[in-house]
Symmetry: C2
Subunit: 390 residues, 2 copies
DNA sequence: CTGAAAGCGCTTACAG
DNA sequence: CTGAAAGCGCTTACAG
């Protein structure tokens, strides 16, 4: 069967192609009743203008692209992206704009994809997530001249609008909460060091640590994986600077931390308070439910879509700050054990020395001894014994 | 700056547009050295043919569409889709085909999106997931004539190729494993009743129950959410037909079940064995790690992409069965408590009466009393007491 | 092996 | 208020 074109509609309505086009695009120059008739016929036949023909003419693809740089395993378990994508969707759909998605292995691959998309005029603009401190994508996208919106803080010297929220404030809130509960040894299990917001958050964490005069405030860098989250926690709980509270950079690692603590017989929140990173449903899926830094990821996605649409449209897409994440207090944070309270206070030098690094572990290497899958659970008596007395 | 077109390349190479096109598409009729020269120039200038112009001419969008019908919250936490999408990606990218994604609220909305995509010739074909028993999308897609591939079992009377795996066998394997461990009261917490594979799995579950002469084999229908998974478990563990093992239809509900059991002081796997549904990373993120029905979701996605590309291409896309899921045994399944062994055996009638329904709970209603967020944790002694002795 | 030309299905000045 | 025509950037028979 032959596919319907504008000419078919024009013939049936007894007008020219041009008139059909005007009617369809709500342009002046068509009488109300002609317009009506045309729309009715088009509707009856289920005709819609060909995206390709229209794109060719108006040089607009009515599509934006998102190339995510994460490995499939992490993506599956990381609730952020699907919520984010769903959030963008509503906004895009309202503007009849499609979303082209690609899961890339690294920034290079993502960049190649975006380059192809743009060169082939498949997209009108792109969204860039997981910004690195030195991000090879940005200068290239700038050179290409593709409308881009950054998911993360604006960058000096970078012309692209950014949609961000105050990461520093979010971390500070978490630390404040813990300090209020009497914690003075607070650790941070951070995400990828290369990421811009990791940097920001770590800075805020240290500043808060100094301001509150904490005793210790080690920071561990990880790759966001469950494995490294658990490893980092194990490291902390068995190490010299054993904290009474840990702030995690995402939910998956917070869950891992909870699990690692359980393996070591460390009670949560009795002996260890935990704050999670994204407040996905994961936080309410464990026991105790995790206190988390919470923001509306869907609204965030919608805001990003809006800014990109504006950038693509009339170029008015402007950087925009979203509400700062709030702390949602649940069962995983509790008053600190006060026993070790009266010691020295943290200074900047000590703090620097406390920035540790988790031994690199491939995200797929699951042979970590204390993994929940490990066959030998710690017997209850053992666990009891390792608890501090007060 | 003016955008590059084929004419620019032709001028620079000193040939006609046609020759450039031939060279680019590896068609005969261009000398090796001319081709070489053209490609070099195109490459240097970063020129790529406009997707719109090409699509207009060859009537091929080089794009396929996936409209997912799930709410954002579920999607975020359900690891299946991102893994599935990542799996499709490699295959699609190899054929320079893009993926248009939409997160729809329901099948109607998804259908409208697919209709638009097809009418506007934005896609060459679509992927349909979450097949319902009576699926309103299928007859419409058939009428539209859009190349489609079904993620799920082939349907009699439906012309679309399907990519599926043996759901019945997977469930049977799980039940067999539990029976081997001595379980005779096994429950199934199923997903959405409307879904085709829920039907298949429930059928297989009941058949296995009868074959093994189980004592009880209740089936509970849910919406796949954490809430209903927990509610169903609570229901089962406090009810008349208290099972010693539960088979869940996805991972999220299995986690919920684990949590609900813990709340009730029921030891896993001591008093209750749990089998999860998809073997995502979630299963290894909890303690004990969950025995799960496991299949390679990424490979599954790749297979779907391949079949769709074949359907779109020369129409040879054919139904294809993927490997049956294997049972991955972990810490959540253990021998049954033999105490209650010597009672009567299940017959079909009883089985029918055992098909329960979980009271409807909105996926967002988190005010379920035994939710992990609940303030009153079971003290350790309590938990200890409820452990079985052997 | 190469060039000139038609045409894919729209949009949009330009006449009337 | 409406029609005729050019043109977006390609591909592809058709001549040469």
């Amino acid at each position: 069967m032959k596919r319907l074109t504008i000419s078919d509609i024009a013939t049936m309505a007894g007008v020219s192609n041009g008139t059909v086009s005007y009617a369809l695009n709500d342009r002046p120059g068509v009488s109300a009743q002609t317009r009506e008739r045309i729309l009715r016929i088009a509707d009856e036949l289920g005709w819609r203008p060909s995206a390709a023909a229209r794109a060719l003419k108006v040089a607009r693809a009515q599509t934006v692209g998102l190339a995510i740089t994460r490995d499939a395993a992490t993506l599956g378990i990381e609730p952020f992206f699907m919520r984010f994508i769903a959030g963008m969707e509503g906004e895009l759909a309202a503007h009849r704009t499609g979303l082209l998605l690609q899961v890339a292995g690294d920034h290079h691959e993502a960049l190649e994809t975006m380059r192809d998309w743009w060169a082939e005029k498949r997209v009108d603009g792109v969204i860039v997530t997981d910004l690195w401190n030195h991000d090879l994508r940005l200068p290239e996208l700038e050179r290409m001249g593709v409308p881009t919106v950054l998911v993360g803080a604006p960058r000096p010297g970078c012309p692209f609008p950014a949609v961000w929220s105050d990461d520093a404030a979010a971390v500070t809130t978490a630390v404040d909460h813990l300090v209020e509960l009497g914690h003075r040894d607070i650790a941070r299990v951070a995400g990828l060091t290369a990421l811009q917001h990791t940097h920001v958050r770590t800075g805020a964490f240290r500043a808060a640590a100094v301001r509150h005069g904490l005793r210790s405030a080690p920071v561990l860098a990880t790759d966001y994986s469950w494995e490294q989250g658990a490893l980092a926690t194990h490291h902390l709980l068995t190490g010299r600077l054993r904290p009474t509270a840990i702030v995690f950079d995402n939910d998956v690692m917070a869950l891992a931390g909870l699990s690692a603590a359980r393996q070591l017989g460390v009670a949560v929140p009795g002996e260890l308070s935990i704050v999670a990173g994204d407040d996905s449903q994961l936080c309410e899926m464990v026991y105790p439910a995790l206190t988390a830094v919470s923001r509306n990821v869907q609204a965030y996605g919608a805001a990003v879509a809006r800014v990109l649409l504006d950038s693509v449209g009339d170029g008015t897409g402007d950087s925009r700050q979203e509400p700062t994440a709030r702390l949602r207090v649940r069962g995983s944070t509790a008053p600190a054990d006060r026993g070790r309270r009266d010691r020295d206070t943290l200074d900047r030098d000590t703090l620097d020395r406390q920035t540790l690094r988790v031994p690199a572990v491939s995200a797929r290497d699951r042979a970590v001894p204390w993994t929940p899958a490990a066959p030998a659970p710690v017997p209850p008596q053992e666990r009891r014994r390792s608890r501090p007395t007060g």
